[in-house]
């Protein structure tokens, strides 16, 4: 029998496919649908202290081999979002609260509220590539990152995940700062900085001009990040970036991930992608004589 449950530190999930932040997770109903679609855990939209409308449209495009987005961190603010989370309190699938802020204090306050709302963990978004003062701008400064992670881990008792960006010279250095701040897991990767220009109007199509590249095209980039991290970081890793099939998940596991997150795949294969990926994963594992996800984790490491 194949068992696809997995653990990320102290967090045990029934299957290793988590919903990535920013996809179908702005309200309780959407998240509930993703739970019904078989996601092993839900990461919420990245939530800040105050409501943000995000950028004007166009905010999302499908390019040839991946998606491009610049949402601009739209969210109703943590107070309004509490109501959504209350509705999910009875869910048996862990809800992981993604938060963004500019300072250690902001992160700590947000994490605290997430914990009060029943979040099973928090995920610090320090990697959004296109929001002024937030995301990557915070996550590329190792000292600030260390302070943020420390502030959060001192504030809450639930596990703290740190989601990092591939748009850096040395991803291991960033993850180390999070590790030193006592993070419980590293999530990689957020989107890759990219853009698309419309030739007729001679202008970038996204209202924000540049955005983040996700989906199948970035899988080889994400796998490499996890593989590099796995060799230098002791924390559990969660792989994100282009995962669309069960075999994609296997590739991330072998690179060193203990679980995976799916974002763009919800577009490519619909919400049922979680169930499909789990089935493909089980089939692949049993065809190859594996009984447990842990047998795959890091299998390709030197």
């Amino acid at each position: 029998m194949v068992d696809i449950s997995t653990t990320i530190g102290s967090l045990r999930i029934k299957n290793p496919t988590m919903l990535a932040s920013g996809i179908m997770d702005e309200d309780a109903g959407s998240m509930h649908r993703m739970i019904r679609s078989g996601a092993g855990a839900i990461v919420t939209k990245s939530i800040g202290l105050h409501a943000r409308e995000g950028y004007p449209n166009p905010t999302v495009l499908e390019l040839e081999y991946g998606l491009l987005n610049a949402m601009g961190l739209p969210n109703p603010g943590i107070d309004a979002y509490e109501d959504e989370l209350q509705l999910l309190k009875k869910s048996r699938v862990p809800i992981i609260g993604s938060i963004y802020g500019a300072t250690p204090d902001e992160f700590a306050r947000l994490a605290d509220t997430m914990q009060h709302c029943g979040a099973a963990a928090v995920e610090l978004n320090v990697s959004c590539p296109h929001a002024k003062h937030y995301g990557m701008e915070v996550g590329c400064d190792t000292q600030l990152l260390y302070k943020i992670v420390t502030a959060v881990t001192e504030q809450v008792t639930i596990p703290v995940f740190v989601k990092i960006s591939p748009n850096v010279t040395n991803i291991v250095e960033i993850a180390s700062a999070a590790e030193q701040g006592n993070a419980d897991a590293i999530v990689a990767i957020n989107t890759v900085k990219a853009m698309k220009i419309d030739l007729e109007t001679r202008q970038p199509i996204l209202a924000n001009k540049t955005g983040g590249y996700s989906g199948r095209a970035i899988k080889p980039i994400g796998v490499r990040c996890i593989y590099d991290l796995a060799q230098h970081i002791k924390l559990p890793l969660i792989g994100v970036g282009g995962i669309t099939t069960g075999q994609d998940a296997v590739e991330y596991f072998m690179a060193g991930a203990s679980a995976v997150q799916l974002g763009s795949a919800v577009y490519y294969r619909g919400p049922d992608v979680f169930r499909a990926v789990c089935t493909e994963l089980k089939d692949w594992m049993s065809a190859h004589g594996y009984t447990n996800v842990s047998q795959l984790v890091g299998a390709a490491l030197p």
């Binding site: 920013g22 309200d27 495009l61 390019l63 969210n75 007729e200």
Partner: protein, 260 residues
């Protein structure tokens, strides 16, 4: 690829002082009830239902209500807009006598469905509800399809005085209607929905949209139904389960805005 394709406007028609129809070339098949994302470069990209379908061209009809629609309103034949779509599910048109109820600009997106029904020689009754006579459009156009067309105005300046839903109730009592199709203010649609417990019912919902590809979750109603992909047309049974129907929608930040 799912990106706006820059397309020249073929022609524009002023329907009322603040409602305009824009026609452009788009050879793809479109089901009545589907919508496009219309990019006004440098301004915004907004959802717009299709108001006219021919083999090679499509049209949208909209009211100047804000930034993007105002810019769009200024454009004339030869100007360029970006088109992606069509998106959404579209209406399921079936039955022997159909009732269409359009409130405000809602009649615009019902028009292709009405034309479709009439082409199938289905008996069709249309109610167009507007606040006042000056806001009325598409009346002649709908009459030419051979449908029975009623107009209601809130102020009685033309047609019957009152709400479209009131007249609909009267029609539903008098005639044997197989299905009701509606687009308009959500409270009006909610009222109609209550009238149609035992009649097939389809309503077109409007929610703030960003991706229109079923990904970002911005447009969700009920238990994760994406208006952009699973809708915009929902039937009576589904609407029964959508607790937010007629109660609230969400703004660009995802905050609830109550209907009143």
């Amino acid at each position: 690829m799912n990106i706006p394709i820059i397309t020249p406007i073929q022609s524009t028609t002023l329907e009322t002082k603040d409602v305009k129809t824009i026609t452009f070339a788009h050879p793809a098949p479109v089901i009545p009830g589907q919508f496009y994302m219309i990019w006004i470069p440098g301004v915004d990209e907004i959802p717009m239902s299709v108001s006219r379908i021919t083999l090679k061209t499509k049209a949208i009809t909209f009211r100047d209500v804000g930034d993007a629609t105002h810019q769009l309103f200024q454009l004339n034949a030869g100007s360029h807009i970006g088109i992606r779509g069509p998106y959404g599910n579209g209406f399921t048109i079936a039955g022997k006598h159909l009732l269409f109820v359009g409130g405000g600009t809602g009649i615009a997106m019902l028009a292709p469905a009405i034309e479709h029904a009439r082409k199938q020689k289905v008996k069709t009754t249309v109610i167009i509800g507007v606040k006042t006579h000056q806001e009325l459009f598409f009346e002649q156009h709908m009459k030419r399809t051979g449908a029975t067309v009623y107009v209601t105005t809130d102020d009685g300046s033309y047609g019957e005085k009152g709400f479209a839903s009131d007249l609909a109730a009267t029609v539903l009592k008098k005639e044997h209607i197989d299905a009701v199709y509606t687009c308009g203010p959500e409270l009006m649609m909610k009222t109609l929905h209550k009238l149609c417990k035992h009649i097939r019912f389809q309503a077109s919902l409007e929610r703030y949209m960003k991706c229109a590809m079923g990904l970002c979750g911005q447009c969700c109603v009920g238990d994760g139904l994406r208006v952009c992909v699973d809708g915009p047309i929902f039937d009576g049974t589904t609407l029964q389960k959508i607790t937010d129907f007629g109660k609230y929608h969400r703004d660009a930040a995802g905050r609830k805005i109550m209907y009143k």
